[in-house]
């Protein structure tokens, strides 16, 4: 399906959605599988996008090297954030990540290398491995699809590894995990860093696709977007964040011209509906329905 899609649908839209799908999957590793709500993930997305934009445009790196640089930057930032944020539990986690992300936002706003309000414009897409011209939207699409799949497999493997099982145990019952002798903070930190790095991968790819980076990518609204994508699709499900990302990105691109800032109202309304009526998300509800019809309980 992914292979023929660019011949049917506008490739830029698909790449946009794929970047956010990867972002949401990375976020879900934390919210859905570890039970930690971060309200500052845009910081990693934005930091990677700026790093990629800067290294590719100003330092002449190729797209792949630029994306790698962006991902590493997000990973480093994630380690710093992670070490601060795992010191507090529960609801404070969300407030601290939000505040730290705002710190990063103001840093980008005031630094000279980010171009302040203008952002970094005209990032060259360049050539992958010196031969494949990524200026062509279709070729770039397959490049982005490959990155998405790599990220997705990493997340999938993480969730289904013994490490992922421990994360699940922490989400279900943290004191119990502690009493079983797991160094809970170490696991949380590792999950946080993996999630940050993959969010960075998404942001770095986003910078190459759109050839510009602006402050929007590090804004708290973007953090809110990724929370909604995960919630809407179904947190703690493998495919939920992808469904949520495609749903939200198409909604935003459809509505942005027509209703202006009313989009915010619709997004807020979706949050309310999801929390009150659809807590398992689209994928969660559908699989629940499937098991009810087939008559087997999900394990």
């Amino acid at each position: 399906m992914g292979l023929v899609a660019p011949f049917v649908v506008y490739p830029i839209f698909l790449m946009h959605a794929l970047c956010f799908a990867l972002f949401a999957c990375a976020f879900n590793l934390l919210l859905g599988y570890t039970g930690l709500l971060s309200f500052g993930h845009a910081a990693f997305f934005g930091a990677a996008a700026y790093t990629t934009g800067y290294t590719v445009k100003m330092m002449g790196l190729g797209p792949a090297a630029g994306i790698l640089a962006g991902t590493v930057a997000a990973m480093v930032l994630g380690s710093v954030f992670g070490m601060l944020v795992i010191r507090r539990q529960g609801i404070y986690f969300a407030m601290i990540t939000l505040a730290l992300a705002q710190l990063v936002y103001f840093f980008f706003l005031q630094s000279s290398f980010t171009g302040g309000e203008d952002g970094i414009q005209g990032i060259p897409r360049g050539h992958f491995l010196w031969i494949i011209n990524l200026g062509d939207d279709r070729k770039l699409y397959y490049f982005v699809l490959a990155i998405f799949l790599v990220g997705f497999v990493v997340i999938h493997r993480t969730i289904h590894s013994p490490f992922g099982q421990v994360l699940n145990a922490i989400r279900e019952n943290e004191p119990r995990a502690v009493s079983l002798g797991y160094d809970v903070n170490k696991y949380k930190l590792q999950a946080f860093v993996i999630s940050a790095a993959l969010s960075g991968l998404a942001g770095a790819t986003y910078a190459i696709v759109f050839t510009f980076v602006t402050l929007t990518s590090a804004d708290w609204h973007t953090s809110g977007d990724v929370v909604l994508m995960t919630l809407l699709g179904g947190m703690g499900t493998v495919f939920g964040p992808i469904v949520g990302a495609f749903a939200l990105v198409s909604l935003q691109s459809q509505l942005a011209d027509k209703v202006g800032s009313f989009v915010t109202v619709i997004m807020g309304g979706m949050f309310i509906v999801c929390v009150l009526l659809l807590r398992n998300g689209i994928v969660g509800e559908l699989s629940g329905l499937y098991y009810r019809v087939v008559g087997r309980r999900p394990d």
């Binding site: 601060l84 539990q89 609801i91 407030m95 601290i96 800032s261 997004m267 309310i272 929390v275």
Partner: protein, 295 residues
């Protein structure tokens, strides 16, 4: 001696006073957040939006109903509190048995709806609200001029914080509240209507945000975005102070406002971020917050 480190004294005091004014808003908002969290176990993300709502309603009261500042000061907090009652009764009360992440997500959604709605209607440019006649002009304190309205804001918010402290710590009603925060089931068993108390608590916390909005209306630009900018700082204040004590919230709020003012004088680039940097520092040194007790 007119200068400190090359900064003229009137400018220094001027910024300190501005810092104190924003500190008053931090104090009132973090106080409301702490009361709501204590009783509902929910972080009210909509707090900033409700503050914004207070300010915008103050403007609407004057423009559309011809009601001046004093009427707004009386009525707007009540209207905002009433809105809070509706929100609590229709939505929040369904979430008490769930993980408190859902409360945060729901109130975030409410904040987005409110912000988007007001933005759609009134745009992002500031709405003007002139300072009431009674507070026009300034006091000359000899070493600086203190605009009368700012003096009023400081006085009014400190009085409000004191009144809130007094009600919670020194009246029978406050005793019920503290007891219900500690152990709602037991208090319910003694025949006190805990659900009504929860609704009232939310209304009071939200009303405080509305009141802060009214006080802010003549002092700052009224804009639909004023709430979300503020709430993130207030979250950092709450993390720094911890939500354990009322006095702690107020002192932390005021102190951070002053520090922000000082930063504006000496290193203005960091004025937006200093609160977040202090938060990071506090997390390193004293993870549970300055006045906090970990729950």
């Amino acid at each position: 001696m007119n200068q400190v480190f090359g900064v003229p004294l009137p400018a220094l005091f001027g910024q300190l006073m501005l810092g104190l004014v924003s500190g008053c808003f931090y104090a009132m908002l973090s106080l409301g957040l702490a009361i709501i969290f204590g009783m509902l176990n929910i972080i009210n993300f909509a707090h900033g939006a409700l503050y914004m709502m207070g300010a915008v309603f103050t403007w609407i009261a004057l423009e559309q109903f011809g009601l001046g500042y004093w009427w707004a000061l009386l009525l707007v907090p009540l209207v905002v509190a009433l809105f809070g009652v509706v929100v609590e009764r229709t939505m929040l009360h369904r979430l008490y048995k769930l993980d408190n992440l859902y409360g945060l997500l729901l109130t975030f959604g409410i904040a987005l709806v409110m912000e988007g709605f007001f933005r759609q209607r009134y745009g992002v440019s500031g709405l003007p609200y002139s300072i009431p006649d009674r507070f026009a002009g300034a006091f000359n304190l000899g070493f600086m001029f203190l605009p009368k309205y700012r003096a009023w804001v400081i006085f009014a918010s400190l009085a409000t914080c004191f009144a809130t402290w007094f009600v919670i710590e020194r009246t029978p009603m406050g005793a019920y509240l503290r007891a219900a925060t500690e152990n709602p089931k037991l208090v319910q068993a003694f025949g006190i209507n805990v659900p009504v108390m929860i609704t009232l608590t939310y209304a009071i916390g939200v009303g405080l945000a509305g009141l802060a909005g009214v006080l802010a209306a003549p002092a700052t630009q009224i804009s639909p975005l004023m709430g979300s900018n503020l709430i993130i700082v207030v979250f950092a204040v709450v993390v720094i102070g911890g939500m354990g004590s009322i006095l702690g919230s107020v002192v932390t709020g005021l102190a951070l406002g002053l520090i922000e003012g000082l930063t504006k004088v000496f290193y203005s680039q960091a004025a937006n971020t200093v609160v977040f940097l202090i938060m990071a520092l506090v997390l390193l040194v004293r993870p549970s917050g300055l006045f906090g007790k970990e729950r």
